[in-house]
């Protein structure tokens, strides 16, 4: 039963991912990661013997543990990548906010200067 479920999951993930890509909800950069994940699931589903072979090759007594360990490892890596990206976005966002604040002050100063000069020239021409 498990192989069927993972196989279906793989196909479902790739379909959902393609849908998000198609609707411009997902960056192609993330699409690649999820596509690889989906491929992995599909592979496990349609060729479940791979885990057993790999486990015996690596000397793992209980093959499902290998599958779970690999899955958890991938999830942790993905979460770390997410946090890295989040930090980078936060940094860019903060820089932008700061720059907006600075530009606003400059704009106000320029407006005041313009107002002052127009007032001065207006007076002199009158």
């Amino acid at each position: 039963m498990i192989p069927v479920i993972t196989g279906i999951m793989g196909v479902a993930i790739s379909l959902v991912m393609l849908l998000f890509l198609r609707r411009d909800k997902l960056h192609a950069h993330h699409g690649v990661f999820w596509f690889v994940i989906a491929l992995g699931f599909a592979l496990l589903g349609f060729a479940p013997g791979i885990v057993d072979q790999l486990a015996s090759l690596l000397g793992v007594a209980y093959p499902p543990v290998l599958a779970f360990a690999a899955a958890i490892g991938l999830v942790v890596i993905k979460l770390l990548l997410l946090d890295l990206e989040h930090s980078s976005l936060k940094q860019r966002n903060e820089r932008l906010i700061q720059q907006v604040g600075i530009l606003e002050v400059e704009l106000r100063q320029l407006r005041e200067q313009v107002a002052a000069t127009t007032a001065a020239t207006g007076q002199s021409t009158d």
Partner: protein, 255 residues
Amino acid sequence: MTALQDTATADALAGVAGLVVIPAFNEEDSIAEVVRSIILASGFPVLVVSDHSTDDTVAQARSAGAEVITLPVQLGPWGATQTGLRYASQRGYDVVLSMDADGQHLASDIAAVVRPLAEGEADVAIGAFTERGSALRKFAWVLLRWTSSLRLDDITSGFRAYGRAAVECLASEEATLLAYPDVGVLLLLQSRGLRVVDVPVTMRERHNGASRVFSSWFTVMLYMLQTLLLGLSKRPLQKITPQDSRQGARRKGDS
């Protein structure tokens, strides 16, 4: 109080193109008085960075004679301070002072804090007040110093003077992700070979009570863990001796 009270003050501040940056969040009660006292004592222009204040801070600061940057989104104390540093970097000030908006830093100490920079002895001067705080706070300082290998008396003081090189360093993107203006900032300065010195100052009681950073036990814990980890991760791998850092700073100044 009169402007430029004594000749020593005038000497220390003469010819220095300085800017005082004050990060402020809802400080309408104290900000006007703080701004006026600084302008009176130092003659420096004052830039208040309002960290998305919801009260009358902006109007109060403007009426007291400060230039005001209003952040459209709250960035926290360091984000607001860095905004001021970036402004100063773009305008080319020689010295940037950071001071708190709650009135705990005295304008009369500005000359003392600026002096090491004006005389070329340091790139950053910290107005240090080591007598304040509980035993726990002092223990926290020891811990922070030990993990980060920083050798300064008052790591958490927000009363500082930054020279041109330090301003450029702290205005950079690298410094943007820091959450608090203390250990991370000082380690970054140290890693660039900038000379940081302590200047003993006196501090007044806060106008309106508690510190923003230390509002509850949980935030204190979070702050300590985050800062300890940051200090540990950025601890210099090789020992930086004052001799090395002085040379480093001089080389930087020459180029």
